[in-house]
Symmetry: C2
Subunit: 490 residues, 2 copies
């Protein structure tokens, strides 16, 4: 199909130029296609290497994911339009100290990257939908609500974590979870976790959790329930916990209860806030710690096993809350919403712990979370019509895991044996910056520092109206325009 004139971004834009809204967009005009609904799937930390590790193990090297690989695959998704491409993810500062003086930073965190697609504005690591000057930038849920669309936000992380937070709040620090900071309400570290000017008692916009309640998406599902035990310090709900506030404001609330989650149904003017664990939700697979060369060779090739506390396991009542279950429920709730039939919906679904398990050098952990995301995509494909719904699958940044031929000498690694094609897969983790003085003695190996994000361009794939907008080389901020244009928001 003929496209309008496009242009590669100019080389060498300054950090100050790139800090403007839309300035990092690589493709200036993205055509006229419209979608009624958009679902954005984010695998946090799911670079091409993470996808391949999981595919090699779960499907065989020549196999394919039923959901993850179907999106963007020509004539396979069922959509008329499909697209696959690469996108860049850099940010404009390594931390809040760079706010106000943007500097091109090749490796982003989840906050700057999420802000990129949520608002179209490049910003500093740690920024939640605020720009380099710490000014709030309108995000896709705000824009979608303003146009009358139904909206949803689903994650396996704490709902206050950066990736969901960029759609529910504007925060100069990603750790400003609640009015008492990042606690369960029994203590207060807000002075450390928040820019205090942002707190309600200081006349600010409030913490991420409080803003979430103000933003009022139709469907919010994730973890992080304990932070809603914090108490508002100012405003209409001062002295009440955030759970109390949510109920008073008409939310259908679910707190750590899979059966109540499973029973949720659409009720007019009663948005859903279902938080199914105190913190991040349990992973599908048990931990397989990466080891030093000698120890990993001694351990030999291993396979992954299911974590009994994973919410995707059926409970006594036959209910479960895998990411696929959560996605399925979110789509049901959105489709039952009259706003959806009139104006469509926007839904973000995050597989959050690919990243978290990759930081922990846990090969099976990241594989299980990739599987969980894949199955969530398959669940969505069963529910939606790709003639009016655009599905996008991508990540916020790539990560450390690499597939190598033999255990490396200094990096940690895990040897896996694929149950599908029998291949021996060596997954290497070499980017930790902190060393463990106990070195070779520890069963874990010498390195207990967390592994780092990486800065490589990564896969973006789409099926449905406007899917071609992800073809070629784009930047993460282009994803904002892809979605906003498709939904008529910009």
């Amino acid at each position: 199909a003929a496209l309008p004139t496009l242009a590669l971004a100019q080389d060498g834009k300054s950090a100050e130029q790139l800090a403007q809204h839309g300035a990092a967009q690589r493709i200036a005009t993205v055509g006229a296609a419209n979608a009624k609904n958009v679902i954005l799937f984010i695998g946090d930390g799911m670079g091409d290497s993470e996808i391949t590790v999981a595919r090699d193990y779960l499907k065989g090297a020549n196999g394919s994911f039923d959901g993850l690989d179907k999106i963007g695959q020509p004539n396979l998704s069922g959509a008329k339009e499909n697209g696959t491409g690469q996108y860049t993810t850099f940010s404009l500062g390594g931390s809040s100290k760079d706010a106000g003086k943007p500097v091109v930073t090749p490796v982003t965190d989840s906050a700057a990257s999420g802000s990129g697609w949520a608002t179209g504005t490049k910003t500093y690591n740690n920024a939640v939908s605020v720009d380099s000057s710490q000014n709030p930038q309108l995000n896709l849920i705000e824009l979608a609500k303003a146009k009358g669309l139904a909206t949803g936000n689903v994650t396996t992380a704490e709902i206050q974590d950066a990736t969901p937070a960029v759609l529910e709040s504007h925060s100069t620090q990603r750790s400003c979870y609640g009015p008492q900071g990042k606690t369960d309400g029994s203590s207060d570290d807000s002075a450390k976790r928040c820019d205090v000017a942002q707190l309600k008692q200081n006349g600010g916009i409030g913490s991420i959790s409080e803003q979430l309640l103000d933003t009022r998406a139709d469907v919010t599902i994730g973890g992080g329930s304990k932070y809603f035990n914090q108490t508002a310090q100012a405003g209409e709900y001062a002295g009440k916990t955030l759970w109390e506030q949510a109920k008073e404001r008409g939310y259908q609330t679910v707190e750590n209860d899979v059966n109540a989650f499973s029973a949720l149904s659409y009720k007019e003017n009663q948005p859903v806030l279902a938080l199914l664990g105190d913190g991040n939700l349990p992973t599908q697979f048990n931990d397989t710690p990466a080891l030093t060369q000698k120890l990993t060779e001694q351990r030999g090739a291993i396979q992954c096993s299911t974590n009994p506390s994973w919410l995707g396991n059926k409970n006594a009542a036959g209910n479960s809350a895998s990411l696929a279950d959560m996605t399925d429920k979110a789509i049901d709730l959105l489709q039952a919403n009259p706003k959806s039939s009139s104006n469509g919906f926007f839904l973000q679904v995050e597989g959050a712990s690919i990243d978290k398990q990759d930081h922990a050098a846990n090969a099976c952990g990241q594989i299980g979370e990739t599987d969980d995301l894949d199955k969530a995509i398959s669940a969505a494909l069963k529910k939606v019509d790709l003639s009016n719904t655009l599905i996008i699958v991508t990540a916020d940044h790539a990560h450390t895991s690499q597939i190598v031929g033999e255990p490396p000498a200094y990096a940690l690694s895990t040897i896996l044996k694929s149950p599908v094609d029998g291949a021996q897969i060596v997954v290497s983790y070499g980017t930790a910056t902190v060393t463990d003085p106990d070195a070779e003695d520890a069963s874990r190996g010498y390195n207990d520092g967390g592994m780092e994000h990486t800065g490589t361009q990564l896969r973006i794939a789409a099926s449905g109206p406007g899917a071609f907008r992800v073809d070629g080389l784009t930047d993460q901020t282009d994803n904002f325009y892809t979605i906003a244009k498709s939904l008529g928001l910009a």
Copy 2:
């Protein structure tokens, strides 16, 4: 555009099944588009991380390569059709010992991977266009010649190196460079380097260099001239050096002479064999050894400098032989060839030393070689008509370099400062399997082992007729069909 029915590869094919010609192809039918000419650009080891390292440094994080990023970019290449996608690169055995008993191997070498796109057949690491049972598989140059197309093969490596070799020979071992093995002819290690049954004196098909002369591509340009000083041991040219044989067989030969290379022109029935260095050609940028955490922090951020012995520098006569120059010359020679006007041409161009410099943990080395490949693509874009020429850009496998936020504790790294956007880029190398006992004392750091290839899926991009065939998820062997179908060879 509507495409024919496609299907994802079945999960869990056995290694034996995958060893069949075409069995790893992911997209079964690839449409009816035809191209008159195909140019395949291979960046050896050029995974998405290697592309991003080079772009971040040379163009800025928001910048774009003029050639490399233009291919596949919607409406920018000038082509009606553009495609970008990801492809898998696994092989069927870690070495020749797996020949005959294929095993799925997540990380390929350059020989198995090159054989994949050259022949459409998955094979073991070390195999040069022979299958897992060591049976020769027809390659794209043989198929193109059989259809009357002009053919070319260009590399910055030794012309006997795996990537060019897969188009000029069939060898059970990649090191079987000549009748005396991998020597300059003053000694003989053929018993070690070759399957002796393959040598001509034993009734075999002969070494890679001898087969190159038999294959008789119209244009062959690269390094590795010293191996042509070896002497044929049997056959019509027994007792003569390979250079003598080449001349007797009507080749226009150039040996380490940039001026003679620059003066080459098309002559009927006189194919070009221009080898411009004894071994691999010099890199564009000087070495920047990766160091341990402490040493790299002491050194601080550095920038790349040009290697005086790079052939891309103009010599006293004003001539040069960068990969762009070689590509330009190859296209001139092919376009002047009447076979080309009648039937078209197939040309492969390899930027070989992205891989070699990545193995050596040399950030500037790999960046300069990526730049050289980018400029070769730009040179091609100036010469060809994308309405009848398909240009494909991809790699044979990904590699070790990663972009991280800070120097890692155990991996080696180099801190670069981009001359374009000023970003500080930390490039990490952590996959070496061999340790250096001199450890911290060595200026190089503790690790002199070579870095490893990695197994991640990677970018494939195309512009021109049939470019959509690279969209979505394909396997490296699909690239054989993409090219063969476009040229009407299969």
